[in-house]
């Protein structure tokens, strides 16, 4: 099948599976921007970036994922892979494609949507009366000017006031979580900046930042939303954030836990949901 510029694969990655609404809303936004979207992610589409200690396994995973996207380009005409996760994006650009023939282009979801901002803007009809602090990182700008792209999109939302937060090291909070002390500093500086600038909301860009910062939801009357949640809000779409609720004392319903497997829930999920917040001394 001939490759069409409007036919894309949305490669959302692995860890954003904690936040199903971010995947669904991103697909919806890409569709509203005019793309025919096929979504793919999870371990079967692993990029291999977290497997530096297993070079052969990482190589096999990355080769398999590139083959799948080549197949989608050949059989479905999907010539662009649109990423969500900056780790996947950088790994594709720097390591996967030099190590396997990729018959597709790559773009980040924020680039695709910012390029379609004129098409999306008329859909943003509901004023969002928030003053947000945009939580930013230094990394990934090597590949995509993501902070600028998100700001450009959010600037189309009526009523929204945007303050740029201090740019933190790393490409997202998960890269800091692995370094003792680093995440607490990043979270603390972000929160302090939100309070100092009279912001009522911290806006995350990536899923791992969201995962960490939602544990601070409501502290000093500051709330946590992802940029996708805010766009949905401006479109009048109610966007649930189940992870935020679970991380703050809630729990999935019994049917969902049964579907996921009670033992897996107790051993793999519950400990993450109940771990201490990234800011010492906070609830």
């Amino acid at each position: 099948m001939a490759v069409g510029p409007d036919r894309i694969t949305f490669w959302f990655g692995c860890n954003v599976l904690r936040h199903a609404e971010l995947i669904r809303l991103s697909i919806m936004l890409l569709e509203r921007a005019g793309y025919d979207v096929s979504a793919a992610g999870g371990p079967a589409y692993c990029c291999g970036t977290a497997h530096d200690h297993q070079p052969k396994a990482a190589s096999t995973m990355s080769g398999r994922t590139v083959s799948r996207f080549n197949e989608a380009a050949a059989s479905e005409g999907r010539g662009t892979v649109v990423t969500w996760c900056p780790s996947c994006h950088m790994h594709m650009a720097d390591i996967m494609s030099p190590g396997s023939t990729a018959k597709f282009d790559v773009a980040h979801v924020t680039e695709m949507l910012a390029d379609s901002a004129d098409r999306l803007a008329p859909l943003l009809t509901v004023p969002v009366k928030r003053r947000i602090l945009l939580h930013r990182h230094l990394g990934f700008r090597t590949h995509v000017p993501v902070n600028d792209r998100v700001r450009a999109l959010l600037s189309r939302i009526p009523g929204l006031e945007i303050v740029e937060g201090p740019a933190q090291p790393g490409h997202m909070c998960s890269s800091l979580a692995a370094v003792p002390g680093a995440l607490a500093v990043a979270a603390g500086e972000t929160w302090d900046a939100a309070v100092a600038n009279q912001c009522d909301t911290v806006c995350t860009i990536f899923h791992t930042c969201h995962r960490e910062l939602v544990a601070l939801e409501g502290r000093q009357n500051v709330h946590v939303r992802n940029w996708v949640h805010l766009i949905a809000e401006a479109m009048g779409i109610g966007a649930s954030d189940e992870y935020r609720g679970w991380r703050n004392g809630g729990a999935p319903d019994v049917a969902a836990i049964e579907k996921a497997g009670e033992r897996n829930y107790n051993t793999l999920i519950e400990p993450e949901l109940r771990k201490p917040s990234p800011l010492p001394g906070s609830a």
Partner: protein
């Protein structure tokens, strides 16, 4: 973005080739270390940047490096400031990739660094997926 053409048949082969190549371009000037915002977490504030950078070249070819270099590559969080700080960037040296390869070699070859890997990462994300996705989404997306 157009992706670069493949240079090897696997990422393993590419990284094996890229390490010595990038090391040969590196002059151990230390600009990448000086630009790095993670140095504060490595206990190396005030260290000799050139000496730390020299270890990058050693690790990238699979040779044991000084403990300071190992500590530094161990806290890399992919901030990327090293890339543009590197004076050899125009010659084809991607400092961020060199540091990534040095870290991989410190884990797998010289065994100076312990891997940080969550063995349960895949089972965990699969469980999160089953908590929230419909059967159709599970079948179509994963």
């Amino acid at each position: 973005m157009k992706l670069p053409p493949a240079r090897c048949e696997t990422t393993e082969a590419y990284l094996a080739e890229a390490g010595p190549h990038l090391a040969s371009l590196c002059t151990a000037c230390g600009a990448c270390f000086d630009a790095c915002p993670m140095v504060r977490y490595s206990g190396l504030a005030g260290a000799d940047a050139k000496a730390v950078a020299m270890g990058l070249r050693q690790l990238a070819v699979g040779e044991t490096a000084n403990p300071d270099t190992v500590a530094w590559v161990g806290v890399c969080a992919k901030s990327g400031l090293c890339r543009s700080a590197c004076p050899e960037q125009s010659a084809g040296l991607d400092a961020m990739l060199l540091i990534r390869i040095a870290r991989q070699r410190a884990i797998n070859d010289t065994r100076q660094l312990k891997p940080k890997y969550d063995q349960m990462a895949f089972p965990r994300v699969k469980t999160f997926a089953r908590l929230q996705l419909t059967d159709e989404e599970l079948a179509e997306w994963l």
